[in-house]
Amino acid sequence: MTTATTIEATHDDHHHGPEKGLMRWVKTTNHKDIGSLYMWFAFTMLLVGGAFAMGIRAELLQPGLQLMEPQFFNQLTTMHGLIMVFGAIMPAFVGLGNWLIPMMVGAPDMALPRMNNWSFWILPFAGGILLSTFFMEGGAPAFGWTFYAPLSTTFAPDSTDFFIFAVHLLGFSSIMGAINIIATVLNMRAPEMKLMDMPLFVWTWLITSFLLIGAMPVLAGAVTMMLTDRNFGTAFFDATGGGDPVLFQHIFWFFGHPEVYIMILPAFGVVSHIIPTFARKPLFGYSSMVYATASIAFLSYIVWAHHMFLTGMPVAGELYFMYATMLIAVPTGVKVFNWISTMWRGSMTFEAPMLWAVSFVFLFTIGGFSGLMLGIAPADIQYHDTYFVVAHFHYVLVTGALWSIIAATFYWLPKWTGKMYNEKLAKIHFWWAVISVNVLFFPQHFLGLAGMPRRIPDYSLQFADFNFISSIGGFAFGASFILLTYIVIDCIRNGKPASSRPWEGAKGLEWTLEPKAQYHSFNTPPSRKLIKAESQHS
């Protein structure tokens, strides 16, 4: 960087620095401020959704109903799923994208900063509307996060209309977030940065954005049809009016399956940054990682009915969806093999981000194996809607998506705050979480295979032992987040100053910025030389 540009950067900061006080956060159009807002919102929702999970595990601790009525139990499972998916995981990834993408592509900010502000500020209201249903007559939605008709139409409480409105708002927010990321990556990228120079987190988010834009309107369509079925006398999902309840499931899963990959592709991106850093070796197979991500995204649109093998599909349909589903194992496998090859003959150290990333590879792969088993249509007959499925998707979403978010938080926290977190505490927290999460979810495989259906508030006695173990693991895992909260706040308040590149092997444009990244990342686009030097595959 020349002296002239440095002066210009300082000059710019002077005029566009953050406002003081609370209004900074309300009016901000800065990608870092908005990124932080997203992250804190997601973390709050994670704690709320986690509290619901604690309620669920407390009721399932032993047979019999001790704490709640079945209807309230159903409200908890429903809201746990909705809050975790739409309130925690998705906003957390948008937050990471906001914080990191402009820095990674050498841009000063997001392409559409005002829309960025709006897409965040919709979220607290949508979340508030969703949570307020608990206090309404008839209680919160109790039909599962998949809200199958007609349980969610004819047989649902009045609060369902508020749920529909909340889902619409969440959809707006996600679509705007996605448009913003696409615009930023394609238009704000440093002129010298080619697409195949982009770091994988940027690639995975670019592809995820297209999934969001494709999938969220379908969800909006589904809830709108629900709305008119409930209130305006249509019969999309009602056989007595010529509709079909299975139509709902097709529409829902046409959204729902891409949604699964919306929650995991950015995680792949995060891990593809962390493993090379701590292996001190370039990412293995960069271009195959990009192609694998794109193939997974494409396949995610054509496999939706593997969630519906028992709805009475014709056998030809079942065969097709089984084959297409099995195919996803190929690009996913490529990713795992590439990560392991990246580690191979590296010079590894195991700071907290690496611990989370390595355990991601292990545990996500376990979720992948159970996913392969679920994809075998005849075997799915015995797995469907049991705790085996619950175990499967918690392995991919908790020890997959959430793991990568925690890994990313530790990895980039020095860049966000300019300070180092307490490594010792972070390691204790990691081992605490990784052990308890397996105590929590691994026994659920056995419960499912032994025949315990999901979404039941009480169970017969042969399921008692594993449920007890699972609940104890659940409480321990829940408690680990108290320590995580402390570590992050302690880092922000008391952390030791970090260097601008706190990880020895880290590459990427974000590490060329100041220790605490300046308010506007790159006022002058980085040079070709710098981009090359910081690229993941050189």
Partner: protein, 366 residues
Amino acid sequence: MKKLVIAFGLLFSFNVFAEYGLNMTEGVTSLSRDIYGLHMMVFWVSVVIAIVVFGAMLYSLYMHRQSKGAVAANFHESTKAELIWTIVPMIILVGMAVPASKVLIDLEDTSKAQMTVKITGHQWKWQYDYPEEGISFISNLSQDSKDAVNGTDADRENANHYLLDVDNRLVLPVDTSVRFLITSNDVIHNWWVPDFGVKQDANPGFINDAWAEIEEIGTYRGQCAELCGKDHGFMPIVVDVVSKEDYKKWVAKKQSEAAAAAVSATKTWGKNELMTKGKGVYNTNCAACHKADGSGMPPVFPAIKGSVIANGSAAAHLSIVLNGKGAMPQFKMLGDSDLAAVITYERNAFGNTGSVVQPSDIKSAR
């Protein structure tokens, strides 16, 4: 090929798994065994892949660490490696898809059926109809389980198969290919008996089918496997599989019971008679939501005690019970005398002062 899959599955399956409820049941039909074989095949393929992949990873995590003096290499690309780990998994997948397809096609072929049972899901009970034999009955969670839900641990241990027992069991003959026609009266349910390898959604307004030829006499238990509302966890399935002779006897007994019920529906009942019968029907069908003391769970499930409907016109009351309303399911599937009894009970128990309803009133209201 199918036999090979099963043999492969059986070879590696441990009996201890079954005893401690760790693994999927093998079941008692050819389909459940095929499914079990596929399950074990995919499981062991996954285990082998896991050993290779995790083994390589663990080796690397141990050997290639800075603290052991490892110096980082700089290789980061190999088209050959990428091709290998794309093509080899493809071959493994094809190897799994072939037997899976065969089982799937067999599973969906219900043309060999020797008899038919129609299964209808209701919130939260199952109705079984034998269309050819003219038998129809409702199957509810058994009373001792219902009582034990909010009871003590001892209650649950003493209850017969807690949460997995019913008042009226489905009875099927052994070694007979049975076709199940599965549908629903309200929301989506799912009829699942793990030992048969049968799990099929019950969709309102549509009929799905499945089949099973059960090879062993015995009692088999299952549960609803699709969230269907409040008492989704409390609508189990129990099937008694009996010898062909015993099945014939059971059919004859059920048919004579049905004939007796038809006669009783034509006579005029005394109020006390209706109240006694009505209490039983009420506790089985209504108490889950409206509570045994009629207090309900407002606002979703209103009280019957002191309700305007139960104390008002009998016609309005009858129409709600027959046709349902909002969260209240319809109860058309109950017999005329059961309905007359339960409605009379609701109108005269809990301090209510409504009129008496006779089976003939129900018949004309249908």
